[in-house]
């Protein structure tokens, strides 16, 4: 589904990613872990097409297409979804209007008919239950005045509505209490299928108790320095990142 080859990325003249190689097959869940400043969020945002990053080398193939050539909205329509670490407020635009516009843009791309307002309302009322949010959030402006946890749940709601093929969760677990964490995890698990893949970018192992990854990668200094199975995450939790760093240097 996704293949990243020797990806180098600069932001404001500084190289943040220094050669990422990663392959994610359909149906797989990958966790990308690493200390602060290692480039995890940069990777997530580059995959979504954020304009402030400059790819200086390497390529990213998504279902055989050159992902980096696609505009952010085309990536979304092709099924790439980024759950933001810091979701943006959109004052004056209601959640329902926003989500309906987004879903219909994606449906139009797939050659499907637009969903009308009434149909969509029923649809979103079902979806909002899965993230245990109050129905009143449907009509509130996107993320405006939401608590940290509510914003993260709102990201998961969007994911549930848009049903992406590749979901990238950028530190969705940070700042969440146990209940919210459980809800977020359930939202992700519900979406899991043999056709869909998930990349979890996270600092802590906590989320991985709920969503068990097939692979765990350690990102340091802009590169993946170690990959392994789910046990690697436990080891990281027990021993921190320092031993990986030493290991990487020795290599």
């Amino acid at each position: 589904m996704l293949e990243i080859r020797d990806l180098h990325v600069k932001v404001e003249g500084k190289e943040i990613l220094t050669g990422i190689d990663l392959k994610v097959n359909a149906g797989e869940t990958h966790a990308i872990m690493g200390p602060n400043g290692s480039g995890k969020s940069t990777l997530a945002r580059v995959l979504a097409g954020h304009p402030s990053y400059e790819v200086t080398k390497g390529e990213v193939l998504y279902n055989g297409k050159n992902l980096l050539e696609l505009a952010p909205e085309m990536r979304a329509r092709e099924g790439v979804f980024l759950a933001f670490q810091y979701p943006t407020d959109i004052p004056g635009v209601s959640n329902v209007y926003f989500l309906k516009s987004a879903l219909n843009a994606i449906r139009a791309h797939k050659g499907l008919e637009e969903m009308d307002a009434l149909e969509f309302l029923d649809f979103i009322k079902e979806k909002i239950k899965t993230v245990e949010m109050d129905e009143s959030f449907i009509n509130r402006p996107v993320n405006e005045g939401f608590s940290g946890g509510e914003k993260k749940k709102n990201e998961i709601l969007q994911m549930a509505v848009l049903e992406p093929r590749l979901s990238i969760l950028d530190e969705t677990d940070s700042g969440l209490d146990i209940d919210a964490l459980r809800i977020v995890a359930a939202g992700v698990s519900q979406l899991k299928s043999p056709e869909r893949s998930v990349i979890l970018v996270t600092h802590y192992q906590r989320l991985l108790h709920y969503i068990v990854p097939d692979f765990v990668h350690v990102l340091m200094g802009g590169r993946i320095v170690k990959s392994g199975g789910k046990d690697l995450a436990l080891q990281l939790e027990a021993q921190g990142y320092d031993w990986v760093k030493e290991g990487a240097h020795r290599k």
């Binding site: 979504a48 097409g49 954020h50 304009p51 402030s52 505009a71 952010p72 909205e73 990536r75 979304a76 329509r77 979804f81 980024l82 933001f84 979701p87 943006t88 407020d89 959109i90 004052p91 004056g92 635009v93 209007y97 926003f98 989500l99 516009s101 987004a102 879903l103 843009a105 994606i106 791309h109 402006p141 969007q158 848009l162």
Partner: protein
């Protein structure tokens, strides 16, 4: 009217004075004497002033130049057959309730209706009511003249001919919105009209009033409108001013509001049309207490210039004023906001807040904004501010990352910017209409930016 047609009017003093002489002769014996002297006094004030240029502080950012050399003709008789066209019918639609329609400045009974008017509300057109209702006009107008010397308002008073008079009876709560429409049809010639409204809300009364300004046709025209609101003790008025003139129009208006003791005035000023627009709004707190909530939304596209000058004058204690004006500016458009709040020495415990926010959608749009406070009392709460910004890149990316194209994302965000005002609109029909206008205009404004 005499066989000769009325002389043309330029934005030149001598031409206006000559036109007045003609008008005075034509009106001789038809108007009550108080009205004749009212007009005479207005033209006398006019004579002492000059048409403003950009060298005048208050007109620094707004030039009348594009219209200065154009000759506009007033209309004193409408050809009813011609105005009964499909285009006009479509534009006006069916009256949603009591409505007075004026075409080219003259009352159009064909499109007007006062059926369903509740209780003893007086809703008449001035042209037919000078004799019966003159006292009310006389009583209500004269104090307002002291508010501010404004040359265009004086010109309107001098050529005062028709308009809407509305009186809400004491303690009467009107449920149906009351509406007036001014439509200009500059088909074969450039026209000028002088819309005039007087709304008197007697003590304890309450109503929703809608003013509309519309145009049809490709010729330039000039609308010079004045509306006076007298809100007496404990009365409450929610007023909408919906300006959607053609893009060839020059629209200059004065809205003068007197806020009485413990009364309330809510105002929505929506500017979507016009080529050159200048609105004066003056709200005077002449008695203790009272509150106003002034909302403005202006959307300027290619070649449009929209200027709002507002003055809120707290003369007496315990008044509350709120003002939020928001502007959206597309390619090669310009806007001006000048908002002055006076808190006079006597006006202790005044609570005033003013804000102007502008969204520039293009690098060649320009806005000049000047919120100003002048406080002479010492125990008051006042805040004011202005902002000029562009669409936020993070917000655009967020929407794009969910599948919305750049154009759609910008449109949605711009719509969101406007929604702070639209959300406050209490009248459902107007809210719906505004949403359509926005949808329509943002489509073309955003489209311009794509290129």
């Amino acid at each position: 009217m005499k066989t000769k047609t009325a002389p043309e009017i330029f934005l030149e003093k001598e031409k206006c004075l000559a036109a007045y002489e003609w008008f005075k002769k034509a009106e001789a014996g038809k108007s009550p004497s108080w009205l004749a002297s009212y007009r005479d006094e207005a033209i006398a004030r006019f004579r002492d002033q000059s048409f403003p240029t950009v060298h005048d502080e208050a007109w620094k950012y707004t030039s009348l130049e594009p219209f200065a050399k154009l000759a506009f003709r007033p209309v004193y008789r409408n050809d009813s057959g011609r105005i009964n066209s499909h285009a006009v019918k479509n534009l006006l639609g069916k009256a949603p309730g009591p409505r007075l329609v004026f075409i080219n400045g003259l009352y159009a009974p064909l499109f007007s209706s006062t059926a369903g008017l509740e209780g003893n509300i007086k809703m008449v057109h001035l042209g037919a009511s000078w004799n019966s209702e003159g006292r009310l006009a006389e009583r209500s107008w004269f104090p307002q003249e002291n508010v501010r010397l404004e040359i265009f308002a004086d010109l309107n008073s001098a050529f005062l001919n028709d308009g809407m008079m509305l009186q809400l009876p004491e303690n009467f709560l009107v449920k149906t919105p009351l509406e007036c429409v001014y439509l200009t049809l500059p088909e074969n010639q450039k026209l000028v009209s002088y819309p005039r409204n007087l709304i008197v809300a007697e003590p304890g009364s309450s109503a929703v009033v809608v003013e509309r300004y519309l145009g049809l046709g490709g010729n330039p025209y000039f609308t010079n409108a004045v509306t006076d609101y007298v809100i007496r003790e404990g009365a409450s008025v929610e007023a909408y001013r919906l300006q959607k003139e053609t893009r060839q129009a020059c629209h200059i208006s004065s809205t003068r509001v007197s806020v009485g003791r413990q009364s309330r005035f809510v105002f929505f000023n929506m500017d979507f049309g016009g080529r050159l627009v200048r609105n004066h709004l003056s709200v005077v707190f002449s008695e203790e207490g009272g509150e106003c909530d002034l909302n403005g939304l202006y959307l300027a596209g290619e070649g449009q210039h929209i200027d709002n000058h507002t003055v809120i004058d707290h003369l007496k204690p315990k008044g509350t004023s709120r003002q939020l004006y928001k502007g959206i500016l597309g390619s090669r458009s310009r806007a001006v906001f000048s908002g002055k709040i006076f808190v006079r020495q006597d006006a202790q415990k005044t609570d005033a807040a003013q804000k102007n926010k502008n969204l520039l959608l293009s690098s060649d749009a320009r806005v000049d904004t000047r919120p100003q406070l002048e406080i002479l009392a010492d125990d008051v709460k006042c805040a004011h501010g202005a902002a000029v910004g562009q669409l936020n890149e993070d917000e655009i990316f967020y929407l794009r990352s969910r599948g919305l194209g750049v154009k759609e994302a910008k449109k949605v965000l711009t719509y969101g910017f406007a929604h702070e005002i639209v959300d406050k609109v209490g009248l459902g029909a107007v809210k719906e209409e505004l949403e359509h206008w926005l949808e329509d205009r943002l489509e073309s404004v955003a489209h311009k930016e794509e290129k």
